[in-house]
Point group: C2
């Protein structure tokens, strides 16, 4: 248990200004962007790896839970301290330690915000591709711990693809380094990959070597309407197997189209069964050729194809996609968009089937469900809005979300393609992973025998 002596001891490590046990402060650290809540007993803002190590060593000795937090933009309760204890707010460790473009990499601290990193890289002609919806706020540490991705992962992969190495504080306070500045190594188990996506349950990331890419010179977007999501799904499979890899491939269903048109009638999206948005980036020739090939591939399937002729039109089309979250939330002032059951992924060819199932679930529970998402990698976001003061509405929502999760698993998919397990989805771990969950638990027990790191998450 945390007592005054321990708090004083920790205060000596980080300085009195960098920790707080005041209720108003603790309350700020009791949630993320989901509805999950849990109060910490102490919030600490470490500034160095050695401070993190010293704090964790004390926590380990006394069996105090340690939950690590970046910007708190997660949607699964991942950084919510369910069992109290310490929250480590990593936002103070936000430096770019090294810009090493000759090696196509940068070394960063975990608290740096995605957009800030990209702004710092831009003058040098480089970028860090993973771009979740929260990129203006989310931290690199959070992205790594959750293996975040977003719209560009169909071409550029998830955060995992960019992590060359990590500095990690283990449960007993030991500092290790995984990976290296080398682009390719097969020395040892990939501890880097084990840490990526482990949501703070195996160690605390205090530094990362991140691969960067040259900013593509051009990009263009294309916008194709289809009579049904099934036909849109077919078009996606055809495009991806043609060898063209778009930098984004998004779907909007009929409900989302209506929502966007209600939100901003000027956009005037065609009232199709589904719309696909493709973005192609690269050199001028690549973009021209890519867009041309997608148009050709969609012909005969799509009822209407529009290519953005200039930057203005491109921005307008893309703005429509970015509006989705807002459009859903503003459909009905009495209802709030709730992120539950919102992140399933399925094998690409199962997308039309999953979309049909979501529609059935929507009708069964008499709950409007709007679907959009990264169809290029099978990731569907289902948007549901409820009156948050109604117990009845919550019950219905949870039942619908449960059915969405079980359906995704049944057809070979996953309950979370990018938002994380946290505590929101830990109950589905056994169903999706089977006895592989036991292997996870064995690893967790071996590396964190006292279970102090982010307890209550990921089903371990």
């Amino acid at each position: 248990m945390l007592n005054v002596d321990l708090i004083e001891k920790i205060g000596k490590i980080v300085g009195k200004d960098n920790l707080s046990a005041a209720t108003c402060e603790l309350y700020c650290y009791s949630s993320d962007a989901s509805q999950i809540r849990g109060m910490p007993e102490l919030v600490i803002k470490p500034l160095t790896t050695v401070q993190v190590s010293d704090i964790v060593r004390i926590a380990y000795e006394h069996g105090i839970p340690v939950t690590t937090r970046g910007a708190g933009t997660g949607l699964s309760g991942g950084c919510v301290p369910l069992e109290g204890g310490i929250v480590l707010d990593m936002s103070g460790m936000n430096r770019i330690v090294e810009m090493d473009f000759d090696n196509l990499q940068v070394v960063v601290e975990p608290g740096i915000v995605q957009e800030k990193l990209n702004k710092a890289l831009e003058p040098y002609g480089f970028f860090f591709p993973p771009d979740p919806g929260s990129s203006a706020m989310c931290t690199l540490g959070g992205l790594i711990a959750n293996n975040g991705s977003g719209m560009r992962s169909v071409k550029y992969g998830t955060t995992r693809s960019y992590v060359l190495g990590l500095e990690v504080v283990m449960a007993d306070g030991k500092i290790i380094r995984t990976g290296s500045k080398t682009m390719k190594t097969v020395v040892g188990y990939s501890l880097t990959d084990l840490m990526v996506g482990s949501e703070g349950t195996l160690g605390i990331i205090t530094q990362a070597i991140i691969k960067v890419r040259a900013i593509p010179k051009e990009s263009s977007v294309l916008f194709a309407s289809f009579d049904s999501p099934e036909i849109a799904g077919k078009a996606v499979v055809r495009v991806l197997s043609s060898g063209i890899i778009p930098s984004a491939c998004e779907i909007l269903d009929a409900n989302i189209i209506r929502a966007i048109n209600t939100y901003d009638p000027k956009l005037g999206l065609p009232l199709a069964g589904a719309i696909l948005l493709f973005e192609v980036d690269g050199t001028e020739a690549e973009v021209k050729e890519g867009i041309g090939l997608i148009v050709k591939t969609c012909e005969g399937l799509s009822s209407d194809i529009r290519t953005a002729s200039d930057k203005k039109e491109r921005d307008e089309i893309w703005a429509a996609r970015r509006l989705v979250g807002a459009a859903i939330s503003r459909l009905d002032p009495m209802r709030t968009r709730v992120y539950v059951g919102e992140d399933v992924g399925v094998p690409i060819k199962e997308i039309p089937r999953m979309l049909r199932k979501v529609d059935e679930i929507s009708r069964e529970f008499k709950l409007p469900i709007m679907t959009y998402g990264h169809i290029g990698d099978g990731n569907l976001h289902t948007g549901m809005c409820i009156d948050m003061l109604s117990d009845e509405a919550w019950k219905k929502l949870n039942a619908a979300a449960d059915k969405i999760h079980r359906t995704a698993i049944e057809i070979g998919g996953t309950v979370t393609a990018e938002h994380g397990v946290g505590s929101a989805r830990s109950e589905y771990m056994r169903l999706e992973l089977g006895n592989a969950l036991d292997v996870m638990i064995t690893i967790k027990k071996a590396l964190d025998p006292k279970g102090i790191l982010n307890p209550g998450k990921m089903g371990v």
Copy 2:
């Protein structure tokens, strides 16, 4: 210990034709393509996952070592049974279980040979990119267990990038499934990534879900000479940071150029300080543009640039690269190319420095060292030839290799970029990984408490 009763019991599982304890047979399984040797007591050729599980369960009960083997093309002793026991020859489990191109994936058994898989994929327009020198023989299971790569990894990544999921038999015989047919999932620790590159020390791969890519429509090669490896290194950094990602980027040093010209004078390679070979693939426009940009980028640095004008010339240039192994081995009939210290990797910008160091080591030990490799990802292969009957020569070679390994680590590199640790490089694990090796050992002990899986490898 293996006794007659146990052998009989195992015989009932796999059938008498699929196991052998005959010395001549055991001898065939006592080596890989390195100089490392170790005799097994029993060789078993399982045909199903359940057979593997049943065998491992017996081995676990009796504490018998189990070493898994694909085609035995490894260069680190990885599949050599150093502590006797059982060798599991997986070459009988070689089916393509499912071709699922709508999901851009195939499901395979581990014994399938890389080239055979690619021949089966070709008519459908797909391929599996990782292509080590041994692709005509090596198995997918071996590639996965070693995270194999080769010339194309600069663009296409290593085997890791293609493994969506695995079926694995754990040390106690339990069968687990990791990953899924979904392109993107963040459910749980990435056990798939933990298994990839674990060289059979954590589990036995019995099935894999493999992502495939569309075969690029065109490819072209370019061949640039430089006065020194340093300048060649600069050109590589410039090309990679320009946004063009070649599908191969290889270096040949002056010694290798001479070796190839001696082997096949018709090729007439220019006697430069170093030659870079670039391959660009993609659509016609991409290839044309890529080659053009590389030419432009190399101008002012390269003393001579040749672009292959047609397929014949392209094949000739590429053949020169493929000749390297043979050229080294045939320089002197009294000497044999030995694969020791042959696989270091360094951060890209350190390549010129590493090349200089190798040159110094060559002069210090009076041992000709020829260097070539995948400069695009910092992977250098150092070729040394010795009189294998001379103890003196072996001593010199091992001392030189030791210095090469230590130098690579000193400048932020790795002792093995793609060939694996096995037993050949396990002594360097502590030096390269520091206390991260303890984390590896903790995981190994947790998942294989009796240490029966491929003992004596990877320093665990």
